[in-house]
C-alpha cells in the first residue's frame, strides 16, 4: 500500500513516541510574529530555557503594524510595546528578524514563501492558524498556540496526534472569472466549517495541478476555515520553478538533491486515503459569503438560501447569521450596498492577486464608487515594491483605491484599519466572523479579489464577470 505525503513527512520527522502515546515530531521551520510569541518567550525565561535551533525560527511583525505609516514609535502605544518585545526577544535569543526597516517585513505567510524558507517535505508551524498556507509547497504546515510556540522554541518539537488524510480532487477546469478563492469557498461550503476536524486535506486534480503556487496558497490558506488544521498540494514542477533562486532555497548541487528528495515525498499513486471527495471545476461559480461563518456562502447568481433548506441543527446559526448580517433569505446578495472594500491578507495579498485585479481595471476608467472606502494592502514590503516597480500602485490609485503599507490590516483589525459601526465590507480575507474586522457589529462578505474590486466599483456586491466583461472559453 502506498503512502500519502502527509504520512511520509510525519514519519520522517517523528522523533519518538511519547508516554501519552502521542508522537514527538520535529519542526523544520518555525515562524513567529508579535502577537502569539511574547508569552512563549516569557515562559522560556521563567524556566531558564534557551532556543534549541535558533536558525530554524524566523520572525516578523504583521498583525499590529499600521498600514498608513510604519514610522517609529508606532502611534498606538500598545502596538509599539508589542513590537519592542519582539525586537528584544529576537535579539536576546538570536533569531533572524525580517524587519520593516530593511524592507523585508510582511505577513508571515507571505514572506515565508517569498524568501524561499517554505519548502516541500518540511514540517512548518507558527502561532497562527493560517500556517496551513505553506502546505501549497507540499509541506505539513499548521497553526499552534502560544504554549506550543514555547515547546518549539525550547525543543524544536511538538507533541502531536496523527491526522487522517482526505483527498479533495477538483477536476476539469475553472470557468473565466472563477478563482482559487472561489474554489476553497466552494469546498468549505460543501464540506462544512467543521468537516475537516481530524483531517489533513490533500488538494489535487487538474485544477490544482494547473494552479500557480500562489493560487495553491490561497486554497491551502483557508483549510482551517474548513476545520482542517493543515492542507497541502503535492510538490511538482510548478513548486520547484517557484522556489528556484529564492534566498533560502537550496542552490548548486544541493538543488538537484533537494528536488530528488521532494519528489520522493509526494503521495504515492496507490496511497490510501481516509476519504476522497471529487468536484468538477466547471461547476464552481464566483462565491460570496452571506453569513458569520466561512461556510455560509452562495454562488453570486443565486438567491440567499431559506433557513428551512438547512438541517434542523443548523437553523439557529442561520437565523443568527441573517439577523447579524441584516440580509434576507430569498433575496440575492448581489446588489447589497457596501461601505468598504479590502484587498489583501494572507489569503489574497500576493503579487498575482493584485496583478489579476489590475488587469481588469487598467486603462478602463473604472472608479471606486463615491460612498466606498477601498483599500489595497500588499502582503509584504516586497510585494509592495514589485507593485510599484510594475506600476500597479498607480493603476489602483487612479481607480480610487488607497494603496497602503504591508500587513494583516483589516483582515483582523489589530491595527488602525477597521470597520465602523455596522459597515458592510467586501473583503478578500478569510474570516467573516462577527466583529472580525474590528467593529463588534461590522459585517464581512468574503470573496475573491476581483469580486471585491467589482463591488468597490459598483458600490454594491456585483458579479465581476458582468462588471469587467469577463468572458471567453474555459481554460483547458
Amino acid at each position: 500500500m502506498g503512502q500519502t505525503l502527509y504520512d511520509k513527512v510525519f514519519d520522517a520527522h517523528t522523533v519518538r513516541r511519547l508516554p501519552s502515546g502521542q508522537y514527538q515530531v520535529l519542526m523544520g521551520l518555525h515562524l513567529i510574529h508579535e502577537v502569539t510569541s511574547p508569552q512563549a518567550f516569557s515562559m522560556l525565561r521563567e524556566r531558564g530555557l534557551r532556543v534549541l535551533y535558533p536558525e530554524r525560527t524566523f520572525a516578523t511583525v504583521d498583525h499590529i503594524i499600521p498600514t498608513h505609516s510604519q514610522a517609529r514609535p508606532l502611534t498606538d502605544a500598545q502596538a509599539e510595546e508589542m513590537l519592542q518585545h519582539l525586537e528584544r526577544n529576537v535579539e536576546e535569543f538570536g533569531i533572524r528578524y525580517f524587519a520593516p526597516s530593511r524592507g523585508e517585513q510582511g505577513i508571515v505567510h507571505v514572506i515565508g514563501p517569498e524568501r524561499g524558507l517554505t519548502q516541500p517535505g518540511m514540517t512548518i508551524c507558527c502561532g497562527d492558524s493560517h500556517t496551513s498556507t505553506h502546505g501549497a509547497f507540499g509541506a505539513i504546515a499548521f497553526g499552534i498556540g502560544t504554549s506550543q510556540v514555547r515547546d518549539v522554541l525550547a525543543t524544536q518539537c511538538l507533541a502531536l496526534d496523527r491526522l487522517r488524510v482526505r483527498r479533495i480532487e477538483v477536476n476539469g477546469a475553472l470557468r473565466p472569472g472563477v478563482y482559487a478563492k472561489d474554489v476553497i469557498l466552494w469546498i468549505i461550503n460543501r464540506l462544512g466549517v467543521h468537516g475537516g476536524v481530524g483531517y489533513a486535506y490533500e488538494y489535487a486534480g487538474e485544477v490544482l495541478d494547473r494552479f500557480s503556487l500562489e493560487e495553491r496558497m490561497t486554497v491551502c490558506n483557508m483549510s482551517i476555515e474548513g476545520g482542517a488544521r493543515c492542507g497541502y498540494v503535492n510538490p511538482d514542477a510548478t513548486t520547484y520553478a517557484y522556489l528556484r533562486d529564492r534566498d533560502f532555497a537550496p542552490a548548486g548541487a544541493a538543488w538537484d538533491q533537494a528536488v530528488r528528495w521532494w519528489e520522493s515525498i509526494r503521495s504515492d499513486a496507490g496511497a490510501a486515503y481516509a476519504d476522497v471527495v471529487t468536484m468538477r471545476g466547471e461547476d464552481i461559480e464566483p462565491v460570496v459569503t452571506w453569513g458569520i461563518t466561512p461556510g455560509q456562502s452562495t454562488p453570486i447568481g443565486l438567491p440567499l438560501p431559506a433557513p428551512a433548506s438547512f438541517p434542523e441543527s443548523e437553523r439557529a446559526l442561520v437565523d443568527e447569521a441573517y439577523r447579524y448580517m441584516q440580509l434576507e433569505p430569498g433575496k440575492p446578495v448581489k446588489g447589497a450596498r457596501i461601505d468598504v472594500a479590502f484587498i489583501g491578507s494572507c489569503t489574497n495579498g500576493r503579487l498575482s492577486d493584485f496583478e489579476e485585479v489590475a488587469r481588469h481595471i487598467r486603462g478602463r476608467r473604472f472608479r471606486v464608487a463615491p460612498h466606498v472606502t477601498a483599500m489595497v494592502v500588499p502582503g509584504s514590503q516586497q510585494v509592495r515594491h514589485e507593485m510599484v516597480r510594475r506600476g500597479l500602485d498607480q493603476v489602483f490609485r487612479e481607480a480610487g483605491f488607497d494603496v497602503r503599507e504591508a500587513g494583516c490590516s483589516m483582515c483582523l483589525a489589530m491595527n488602525p484599519d477597521r470597520l465602523e459601526g455596522s459597515q458592510l465590507c467586501a473583503s478578500s480575507s478569510n474570516r467573516n466572523f462577527k466583529g472580525r474586522q474590528g467593529s463588534p457589529t461590522g459585517r464581512t462578505l468574503l470573496m475573491s479579489p476581483v469580486m471585491v474590486a467589482a463591488a468597490a466599483i459598483a458600490g454594491e456586491v456585483a458579479d465581476a464577470r458582468e462588471v469587467f466583461g469577463i468572458t471567453g472559453t474555459t481554460v483547458t
Binding site: Q24, L317, K434
Partner: protein, 204 residues
C-alpha cells in the same frame, strides 16, 4: 490547581449555546494587544455580552447565577478560527476560572491550547449536551462533574458518557500536559532525527 493531575473536575456550570463559536468571539482581537495573558478573563465573550446586554438580555457569562461556574458547556465546533491561546487563557481566567469544557465538538487548535493549560475538553452526544445545558440553566447551583478516568459527566441524577482522545486524556490524568519537559527528554533523539533529514543538514 498546584497538583497538575486532572482526573475529576467538579463545580457549578455555565452553558454557552451555539455552533461554530470562534475564538474572535471568545476574545476579540483588540484584547490581544498585550504581552501577558493576565487580565484577559474580564474580556471573555466581550462583544457577545455587550450585544446581548444591548438587546435587553443577559449573556450566561454575565448571569450572576453562573458566577461561580467551573465547567463550561458548549455546542459544536467550539473555538474554531484563530489559533490564539488568548481564548482559553480568557476562559480560564473568567470569574472563578473555567476548569473543564464539555461540548459536542471542538476545533483542534483550541482543543490543544486547552490541554496545554490543563483544561480538558470532552465531547458528548448532542442530545446529552443539551440535557446537561437544560439542567444547568434550570438549576445553576447543581454541580457538574467531569470524570476523566471513567469518561463520564454527571449532574444530579443525570450521567452521560463523554469522550476524549487517549493521548491528551493521559497527559491530563497523569499531570503531564505541560509538554516541554517530556519533549526535552528526547533531546538525543531530536538530534538524531535532525541528522536524518536532508534539509536539516544542508543537503550534505
Amino acid at each position: 490547581m498546584h497538583d497538575p493531575k486532572r482526573t475529576l473536575i467538579t463545580g457549578p456550570a455555565v452553558a454557552v449555546r451555539g455552533h461554530d463559536i470562534d475564538t474572535d468571539r471568545i476574545i476579540p482581537a483588540r484584547y490581544l494587544k498585550c504581552v501577558v495573558f493576565d487580565g484577559l478573563g474580564a474580556h471573555a465573550f466581550a462583544d457577545d455580552r455587550a450585544q446581548v446586554r444591548a438587546a435587553g438580555g443577559t449573556h450566561p457569562f454575565d448571569d450572576p447565577r453562573h458566577a461561580e461556574a467551573r465547567i463550561l458547556l458548549v455546542s459544536r465546533n467550539f473555538g474554531c478560527g484563530s489559533s490564539r491561546e488568548h481564548a482559553p487563557a480568557a476562559i480560564m481566567r473568567w470569574g472563578r476560572g473555567i476548569q473543564a469544557i464539555v461540548g459536542e465538538s471542538f476545533a483542534e487548535i483550541f482543543f490543544g491550547n486547552c490541554v496545554a493549560n490543563g483544561i480538558p475538553c470532552v465531547t458528548a452526544e448532542a442530545a446529552d449536551v443539551t440535557r446537561l445545558m437544560d439542567l444547568v440553566e434550570r438549576e445553576p447551583a447543581t454541580p457538574v462533574t467531569v470524570d476523566l478516568t471513567t469518561l463520564r459527566a454527571s449532574a444530579g441524577s443525570l450521567v452521560v458518557p463523554v469522550r476524549m482522545p487517549e493521548g491528551p486524556r493521559r497527559q491530563l490524568v497523569e499531570g503531564r500536559w505541560d509538554s516541554t519537559a517530556d519533549l526535552l527528554e528526547g533531546r538525543d533523539a531530536i538530534a538524531r532525527t535532525a541528522l536524518r533529514l536532508p534539509y536539516f543538514s544542508g543537503w550534505a
